[in-house]
């Protein structure tokens, strides 16, 4: 395995994965950087890694979910602090509204439907490729995709109509 061809080459896919979870470009970039540095530190294990992208994607997903969890547990601004007087100073994701929409819709899907939509609608993989990556049959992929998009449609229509 080589750092440039087997790790750095996947930067955009990992970035989009992190972005689809966090909805924030700067946070997503930090996650990908941390994951790649961790992969570099663990270079003695590279010989045992059969699928570098799957290995890196799992690390990225875990790191992004950890970051999201920590962000949800951030304490409220202290009374009298600058943030308390001006809530807009509290750190908020600085992604565009467009990415925020699909990020939110995907984040509300249960596994493995979330990963399935990421692989199909964001990365453009075929049913066969998705089946291979998620250890499913192609028929299962079709059924799950139908289920995922039905949920996305319901949620999207509610958001459009009621702003939910």
């Amino acid at each position: 395995m080589d750092f440039r061809t087997d790790i750095l080459a996947h930067r955009d896919r990992l970035y989009r994965l992190a972005l689809s979870i966090l909805g924030d470009s700067a946070e997503a970039e930090d996650v990908v950087q941390d994951v790649m540095l961790k992969a570099w530190e663990r270079r003695e294990e590279w010989g045992a890694v059969e699928k570098p992208l799957a290995w890196l994607a799992q690390m990225t997903k875990n790191a992004a979910l950890d970051k999201l969890k920590k962000a949800h547990h951030q304490p409220l601004p202290e009374e009298g602090s600058a943030q308390w007087h001006n809530p807009s100073l509290v750190t908020t994701p600085h992604h565009s509204e467009g990415i925020g929409l699909i990020t939110r819709l995907i984040s509300e899907l249960p596994p493995p439907l979330d990963d399935l939509v990421r692989l199909r609608d964001i990365e453009g993989f075929s049913y066969a490729e998705i089946a291979d990556k998620l250890l499913l049959t192609e028929d299962q992929v079709r059924v799950y995709l139908h289920r995922a998009r039905t949920k996305i449609k319901e949620k999207y229509v509610k958001m459009q109509k009621y702003g939910l």
């Binding site: 970035y15 972005l19 453009g124 075929s126 998009r149 996305i152």
Partner: protein, 149 residues
């Protein structure tokens, strides 16, 4: 303009039966500005998907990572052929030196070493011949002296 084809594609999309190419057509259709009003409700969804699908990091990210891992320096210094072959050249030089020394030692030892056995044999032969000749000559001289007396 008839948008039946697009409407069918939208239905197929939510049923999960569209091909990758058909999904691409939908995203390109909604990326344009002149989307008919009755289809506008789906525009944000397909634009959002397209925006995320096109998100990427730039070269500065690579440079930062390579500098943090030190890979940039390793890659920036190509190893010249002479340096790569240096160990091999050292071994070759040692072998050549050993051969030269070995040959020189062999040549300097040979004249007093193996050769004497042969040379001594020849010398013995010559000595033996000389003795015989002397004996014959001595006998001849003795005969001559008897005949004189």
């Amino acid at each position: 303009m008839d948008y039946k084809y697009i409407e069918q594609l939208i239905d197929s999309y939510f049923e999960g039966t569209t091909s990758l190419e058909e999904e691409h057509i939908l995203r390109e259709f909604f990326a344009q500005e002149n989307v008919p009003e009755h289809l506008l409700e789906w525009q944000s969804l397909f634009r959002s998907e397209k925006e995320l699908a096109n998100a990427h990091l730039d070269e500065r990210f690579d440079e930062r990572l390579l500098s943090l891992t030190g890979e940039a320096h390793v890659r920036a210094l190509p190893i010249p052929l002479r340096t790569r072959l240096r160990p091999l050249l050292r071994v070759a030089a040692f072998i050549a030196f050993a051969v030269v020394i070995g040959t020189a030692v062999e040549q300097s030892v040979s004249p007093q070493g193996e050769a004497p056995a042969n040379q001594m044999a020849v010398q013995d032969e010559l000595d033996a011949d000389e003795t015989t000749a002397l004996d014959i000559r001595s006998a001849e001289l003795q005969n001559d002296s008897v005949s004189i007396n």
